[in-house]
Amino acid sequence: MKQESEWEPKLLGFLCRWCSYAGADLAGTSRKKYPANIRIIKVPCSGRVDSLFILKALRLGFDGVLVSGCHPGDCHYQTGNYRARRRIAITKRFLEYLGVEPQRLQASWVSASEGGKFSEVVTDVTQGLKEVGPNQLFERKKNGAKAKAGSKGTA
Amino acid sequence: MTVSDISQRPKFFAQDNVYLPHIVVIEKIIEETPGVRTFHFNFKDKKLAQEFRFESGQFAQYSVFGVGEAPFCISSSPTRPDHLEFAAQRVGRLTNALHRLGVGAELGFRGPYGNSFPLDFLKGKNLVFVGGGIGLAPLRSLIWNVIDNRNKYNKVDIVYGARTPIDLCFQYDLEAWDKDKTVNIVTTVDRGDDAWKGKVGLVPKVLEEAAPSAKDSVAIVCGPPIMIRFTFPVLEKLGFKPAQMLTTLEKRMKCGIGKCGRCNIGNIYVCRDGPVFSYEQIKDFVSSEY
């Protein structure tokens, strides 16, 4: 077993190619430091990110997911990020209701020129994940609290 | 129809658990058409390779581990046992994964399952093979079987078609049969191209023109369901009785042994009671379920 302190969270980032992905690039070329915990998937628009991607990432064991797109009003496709915002909003709220820690799904607006902001976001999100610990959502053995008895005593 | 007697079939290959696959290794891959590949393979365990027996028309379940399992007929002939072959068209999840594999890759194999072409019944008869697209795969097992025992059978006619010239599978076989003076082959395509010298037209139509005699003949048909549906009436017109028409069917299968419940046509399970049927056996259901 690894020590608690050695554990590093794995973060999956879905970055819009028009802004946040370029922002990440800029962070790299301008030597802004950010944690190596993030694995990046380039998407054509934050609006491309289906809630399924997020769930699948958590199911596969990623400790957190970051969706990042263009600032409101700046979408290359006019409205993609607005749609993403609605979708991520309900996904996030719903997952939190189910018992997923809020830190595991994060979203940000990062433009192509905001290399600094990108590194801050990743640092911040990674820190948040370190606080909640490894994702064991889908690994847990059956130990759930018994729900209260319902009906249908017979078939 | 009662439950199939499987005692006369080559023994299925399994430890004591019919669901456990054996490991086979891909030895060669032939690109038949843009979407179809033939895989030559052999058992990893040399002893099993020696012991394995099957008959023309039988199929097996092939696993790509981690993706799943699917049935394909064994398309090579038991008369040429140095390796086994099957052909797969890239159409779904499993076949996509299959087409990503290279020589040396390992597959799971369990079988052989199902019945086979009734060689005793075919003996001494004129044989008319009617194939479409990848439907030639099960037929070619039998055709090579017949050619390797040529004196046991009478006249052999082959009518084979595909959508376009590049969709013709097993072109090396077609050439070989074309050269073979003991068999008569007609190849057709739905749409020709500039280089195409053969016939143009749908298989049932070309079959009707070729008009093979029904006397002492058996027709063996395999192809896409739509082709099968249109070929039977043509054969009937040519004087073939339902008992003189054989086909081999393809259905969705999971278990391959008559348990999982998907491949039935009426009370017949394609995997257990087939895949080879006479038209007589399935004609009640064929209009509505196939």
């Binding site: 018992g99 979203a107 847990r140 729900a147 | -």
Partner: protein, 316 residues
């Protein structure tokens, strides 16, 4: 009300105004009804309206071709409106026969109250806001708040807004949110870990019969994501992990379409409290976007529309 319905339905078919009538007929078991989907005017005689018309008939609209006369309670009318928003059905092909609905009786609640199964009861009758149950020759009375479905107690639209013919006097909503929201409230009292564990436990019973999905008018995809093979998002087998993902995504997909008709929870053969998922999503959508499903047929669907400024608070 029943007589009027039968006359209207028969006339609609006779005059060729509709090709189909969808309504409720008596079921084959005590206290049940069954959907009646017919083209035969004589079948109109079988139509009933009673406290057991549970199904959401809007579910059948997407698979029926032609003009349809449909019996609709408030929740059905909302589902119909939602389908109109999504261009799944055309308003001009529908004749909506509105039933002002006083709420549907939840037999499972009665079973729990009297400790008997539904087929052991002699009679259930409703009189205003009391329901009396006859069992073993004795009569027991309950206030409706104890025996109606939770979703009926939360009903915001007992009388359809969108209709062509109305059967009876309109009813006003009288939501009892406190009673109907009990199960969600008790879930919210738990810690996140306890909640997740509770869902793990509930979803472990799931057998993947997909009744929740197939009974849902808002689940109209031709091919559901759980059955997709390339890529295969979840395995089509009852692993609790995959079951839970199925429910999460299903709820996200029907957000803004779900009208809290409660059918998913009613039909679940293994008693998974699915309404505690759907209702929470309903409330989230209402809170974040002030969106109420199936209220306005000219409104844009939730996920098609957006406002310049909304739901910003958690974006960095």
């Amino acid at each position: 009300m029943e007589q009027k319905l039968r006359q209207e339905a028969k006339a609609l078919l006779e005059q060729g105004k509709v090709d189909w009538i969808i309504g409720f007929a008596p079921g084959s078991l005590k206290f049940t009804t069954t959907p009646l989907i017919t083209q035969d005017k004589d079948d109109a005689e079988q139509l009933v309206i009673n406290p057991f018309i549970t199904n959401n008939l809007a579910n059948f609209l997407t698979e029926i071709k032609g003009r349809v006369g449909i019996v609709a309670k408030g929740c059905e009318s909302r589902s119909i409106v939602s389908l109109i928003q999504d261009n799944k059905v055309a308003r001009e092909n529908l004749v909506i026969l509105a039933v002002p609905c006083p709420g549907i009786i939840d037999l499972a609640k009665i079973e729990r109250l009297v400790g008997k199964d539904r087929d052991e009861l002699d009679d259930i009758t409703r009189d205003g806001d009391r329901v009396s149950v006859k069992v073993d020759g004795k009569k027991k009375e309950f206030p409706i708040a104890q025996v109606l479905f939770d979703h009926c107690l939360a009903c915001e639209l007992p009388t359809p807004q969108e209709y062509d013919i109305i059967l009876g006097e309109p009813r006003l909503p009288a939501p009892e949110l406190k009673v109907s929201g009990q199960s969600i409230a008790s879930l919210k009292e738990m810690t996140p870990a306890e909640r997740w564990a509770s869902w793990e436990n509930e979803l472990s019973r799931c057998i993947r019969c997909y009744a929740c999905r197939n009974v849902c008018p808002a689940c109209f995809c031709q091919r559901c994501f759980v059955e997709e093979t390339e890529p295969q998002w979840t395995l089509p087998m009852p692993h609790w992990q995959d079951n839970l993902i199925f429910q999460i995504i299903r709820n996200i997909h029907v957000a803004g379409r779900c009208t809290d008709c409660g059918e998913c929870e009613r039909v679940c053969p293994v008693n998974i409290p699915l309404r505690s998922l759907t209702r929470e999503m309903y409330d989230i959508v209402g809170e974040l976007f002030q969106f109420k499903s199936g209220m306005d047929k000219d409104a844009l669907p939730l996920m098609v529309h957006y406002e310049q400024e909304e739901a910003e608070d958690f974006f960095r």
